[in-house]
Amino acid sequence: MIKTSGLKKLYVTEEVETTALNNINIEIDAGEFVAIMGPSGCGKSTLLNVLGMLDNPTDGEYYFLDHEVSSYTESQRANLRKNNLGFVFQSFNLIDELTVYENVELPLLYQKVAPAARKEKVMAAMDQMSMTHRKNHFPQQLSGGQQQRVAVARAVVARPKVILADEPTGNLDSANGDEVMGLLADLNKDGTTIIMVTHAPQYAEYSNRVIHLLDGRVVSEKMSGAGRA
């Protein structure tokens, strides 16, 4: 499903040139739950952004569903993104002016889903995340855990093939963190591929493979938790 070869990402400013990713070769199959770990600044988020087509690599190839996307324009990437990917962020990234319902509905709007189908899907996603009772609240009126559940609902509402999660538990206490991880694990069981960046070893346990990065390189790849079981 996902394959990279010789992936490289450089950040160039007038003064310094930083290598964020260096020769990344990974392959992720459909249905996998992959955790990406490593210390701060090792390139985890950059890798996730490139895999999520939020950013283009500087060099190398990236195959997503057999499309070579490394040189796609932003609008081509946007098109692939909205039909295949869901995102969950550490800081939730809900739009403050929109209610819970409207935040979850947003991806469907951009996919031009018909109103009736839209409602059905939004309600289903919110039901799945147990947020139906909060549908008319605004994000500021919710706790962190609730906000992240809304974010997960938004990520899954369009039934994406892959969910990319960037430290989804980073801003949550352990009870809420466990709950969100449980949700992701459930989604994975239903067949959704999950790629997650995390700091926390206990949450990496939920994955079946852990990729360790250091200074922009893959230093180890091993089966873990669910994978070993």
């Binding site: 939020l54 950013d55 932003e74 946007a78 929109l98 509905e105």
Partner: protein, 802 residues
């Protein structure tokens, strides 16, 4: 999707109330100004459009060129030219001469003075005035015919059913009976020709004496051509007519050479539809507007709108960062650039529509006073024409695109990662924002300069010594037939002079803004002379307090042989020893050799737009004095006026009492300028307010962005004044740089405006510096309170802000 955008936009606008208010207020003021300008310009452009044969109707006009090359635009022409054109040219199929006059209407309820037209029958055939009863064409063909409008018919008789009704009128020729043979609707407000009554041309006293006189110009001539404009070149016809009847004024001599050393005429056709926008042909009958003033008004409206656009754009750019997260999220869930552009443009459109709604509200409230100021009847409700709404649509479209496109592009071009992480890519907006602020301030400075210049020029005009003392002088009009003027002017002068509150009384033929008479003649040596000639009596200089510079004043025993001239006369004709100079050939009369007995100081008979012209004062033997000027004592003015009115009515019950202060007539010369002054002042205040509001918004953004920096600086020991200086520096620099753009533009435009005054202020650095400091002051005051608050805040609060 539309609903989604609408809801999220409304919530966002509601959340940022301050910025939304600045944008909506700014846009609504800009739109209000623009709609007003649009209404006004369309109003002025649609004068006389209702005449069916408009494309064939023309005014004959004369651009006469003096020996020195100065062009004088005149709609006044010799009476015999009308029939001569009809007889000579096959292309001119109809003509109507017309002129202004006054009559006294003797009705059941007393005598009223009324402004009228003297005209020829074709007038009502060429122009489309709606007929209510009778036949106005036939009416003007009768020597005693009379055409009334609905308004005057209702005023004098209470009915329009008047055909055959005898009406007793006193014209200059005397009192006699006319018959109402036509009643027409009132001329529309957008009609160049305005009248209450029309009398046949033959009833005009001047016509009876000058019908064949090519040497006096005292009529307007309307002609209808055989086809639409543009097909006719009547140059040869006009030339032939001049060579035949006024060879001394023909543009070429008999030998075909361009004349030198003398004035010549250029007769031409002015399409009647253009008359309203041809200020050079202003006469009592034609009261055109100056397109330049319309342009200035439209310019003000445009500047207000542009300031509003800048406010919107700058605030949007300044707040771009606050929307990064939202844009990033939308990107991540699938929005493309077009989606984001559409969303942002939708916000701008919504703001603009709110503003439009408010501006309609403002217009409903302000149109009456605006109409009163401009003497127009503009209305939104009658603006049912598609053109207006199409222009409005275009205007809103331009507003939305101009205000939104750039920020929208910036927003839409953000890459998702940059947006989500709040990274401003090297913040290139800083530069465009500062440039925008500079442009906006420069527009404000331009309007300020315009307001200051117009204000100063008007003040200058008001304070400019006119060469006479215009205060406490009352002008009485003697409205009676011409033959009776010598008798009544003398009798009423005596009546007024007897009053203890009256210091002196003079008889005059013309007064400021009340007609004039210009004569040209050749002396025995063939030298051409040309001067304004005013008939006055021996009390004129005294009453007007005009200084006598040399020689002596007119005396009671003087007759037509004694003349006073002004300094301009002495200078224009190079008289080394004016006193005793004999003006042989004066008025083309070989037998009359008047002598200059005195020189009086120049005074302004016309507006300060024109230079003081050579002038002669003399006692006209005909004694056709239409006005009395009375200088009254400053104390108990109203009592004096009351007594004078009573004495007048007792002495002359048949002559309506009609008086006003001379300074009112002088003020009336500058009505257009006064309107312009009022509008400019308003526009300047609005521009300053709008741009201050925009700057306030910008300062809010700037300071909130620099909160952390301020905290750090304070921790490191910066003082309050130092922080204030830091925050104000960019604003001061922008305000100063704005002058580089504003000064040249303002200077050129206002220099052109001042150019239409012969007497004008110097547009010096004072005004430019004044406008600049005013703009700077307002910027600093705007910024000051915010900067003060930020600078005096507790540093811990500023740091915690992160």
């Amino acid at each position: 999707m539309l609903k989604h955008y609408l809801i999220s936009t409304l919530r966002r606008l509601g959340r940022a109330k301050g910025f939304t208010a600045i944008n909506i207020i700014g846009m609504s003021v800009g739109l209000t100004g623009s709609v007003l300008a649009l209404l006004l310009v369309r109003y002025e452009l649609s004068f006389d459009k209702y005449h069916e044969r408009l494309d064939r109707i023309h005014l004959v006009v004369n651009r006469s060129v003096s020996a020195s090359g100065k062009v004088d635009h005149q709609p006044w022409l010799p009476l015999p030219l009308g029939p001569e054109l009809l007889a000579t040219s096959t292309e001119i199929v109809r003509s109507a001469r017309l002129t202004l006059g006054e009559v006294i209407v003797h009705g059941g309820s007393g005598s009223f003075e009324e402004d009228i037209l003297f005209g020829e029958p074709y007038l009502f055939e060429m122009l489309s005035f709606a007929v209510i009863a009778g036949d106005p064409v036939a009416a003007l063909a009768q020597p005693d015919g009379l055409v009334m409008t609905r308004q005057s018919a209702m005023k004098h008789f209470g009915t329009v059913d008047l055909i055959g009704q005898p009406v007793s009128l006193t014209t200059e020729a005397g009192r006699r009976e006319f018959r109402v043979l036509g009643v027409v609707e009132n001329p529309p407000a957008q009609s160049t020709l305005q009248f209450q009554m029309v009398l046949p041309l033959q009833a005009w006293l001047t016509y009876t004496t000058r019908a064949l006189n090519w040497n006096a110009s005292n009529t307007h001539i309307l002609v209808e051509t055989a086809g639409p404009v543009g097909k006719f070149d009547l140059t040869d016809t006009f030339l032939a007519i001049l060579l035949k009847n006024r060879s001394d004024r023909a543009p070429v001599t008999d030998q075909g050479e361009i004349p030198t050393g003398r004035r010549y005429w250029n007769l031409s056709l002015l399409p009647f539809v253009e008359a309203h926008l041809s200020p050079q042909y202003a006469s009592g009958l034609l009261q055109p507007v100056d397109p330049q003033n319309l342009m200035i008004l439209a310019g003000f409206a445009a500047i207000l709108l542009i300031i509003a656009i800048f406010n919107f754009m700058l605030l949007a750019l300044g707040r771009l960062q606050s929307r990064f997260k939202e844009v990033g999220v939308r990107r991540v869930v699938g929005a493309n650039g077009a989606d984001l552009t559409a969303m942002f443009m939708g916000e701008v459109l919504l703001t603009a529509l709110f503003a439009l709604g408010i501006s309609f509200l403002i217009l409903e409230l302000t149109l009456p006073s605006f109409n009163k100021l401009l003497g127009r009847d503009l209305a939104l409700t009658t603006a049912t024409d598609l053109g207006f709404w199409a222009s409005l649509l275009l205007l809103v479209g331009i507003l939305v695109l101009a205000a939104g496109l750039y920020p929208a592009r910036k927003l839409a071009s953000l890459q998702p990662v940059q947006a989500l992480h709040g990274i401003d890519p090297s913040n290139p907006e800083k530069r465009s924002i500062q440039l925008g602020v500079i442009l906006q301030i420069s527009l404000t400075i331009i309007i300020l300069v315009a307001a200051l210049v117009i204000n100063k020029q008007m003040k200058f005009i008001q304070e400019q010594p006119l060469g006479f003392n215009e205060s406490q002088v009352v002008l009485y009009k003697i409205a009676t037939e011409m033959d009776e003027l010598p008798l009544w002017s003398q009798r009423l002068k005596e009546v007024l002079s007897r009053d203890s509150g009256v210091q002196s009384v003079a008889k005059v033929s013309y007064s400021v803004n009340r007609g004039w008479n210009r004569l040209g003649w050749r002396d025995n040596a063939g030298k051409p002379w040309r001067a304004l000639v005013k008939d006055v009596d021996e009390d004129y200089l005294k009453t007007m307090e005009i200084a006598l510079l040399s020689g002596r004043d007119l005396a009671a025993q003087d007759g037509e042989e004694a003349m006073l001239v002004n300094e301009a006369f002495v200078e224009a004709f190079g008289l080394d020893e004016p006193i005793g100079y004999v003006l042989d050939g004066f008025a083309g009369d070989a037998d009359r050799d008047p002598t200059i007995i005195g020189v009086f100081s120049d005074f302004h008979f016309f507006s300060l737009r024109s230079e003081v012209a050579p002038m002669i004062l003399w006692k006209n033997p005909a004694e056709y004095y239409q006005y009395l000027l009375a200088r009254i004592a400053a104390d108990d003015v109203s009592g004096t006026l009351q007594r004078l009115g009573d004495s007048w009515k007792r002495a002359a019950p048949g002559i309506p009492l009609n008086y006003n202060f001379l300074d009112e007539d002088i003020q009336a010369l500058y009505i257009q300028e006064q309107k312009l002054q009022a509008v400019t002042r308003g526009a300047a205040i609005l521009a300053l307010t709008l741009s201050a509001m925009g700057l306030l918004g910008m300062a809010t953004i700037e300071i909130s962005r620099r909160t952390k920096e301020i905290g750090i600086r304070k921790v490191l020991g910066a003082s309050v004044p130092e922080i204030m200086g830091l925050l104000s520096r960019r604003m001061v620099v922008s305000s100063l740089l704005a002058n580089i753009i504003a000064w040249p533009v303002a200077w050129i435009v206002m220099q052109k405006w001042l150019g239409s005054f012969a007497y004008r202020i110097e547009l010096g650095p004072g005004i430019l510096l004044g406008a600049a400091s005013l703009a700077l002051l307002v910027s600093l005051l705007t910024l000051g309170t915010l900067a003060m608050r930020a600078a005096t805040a507790n540093p811990v609060d500023s740091l915690r802000y992160e």
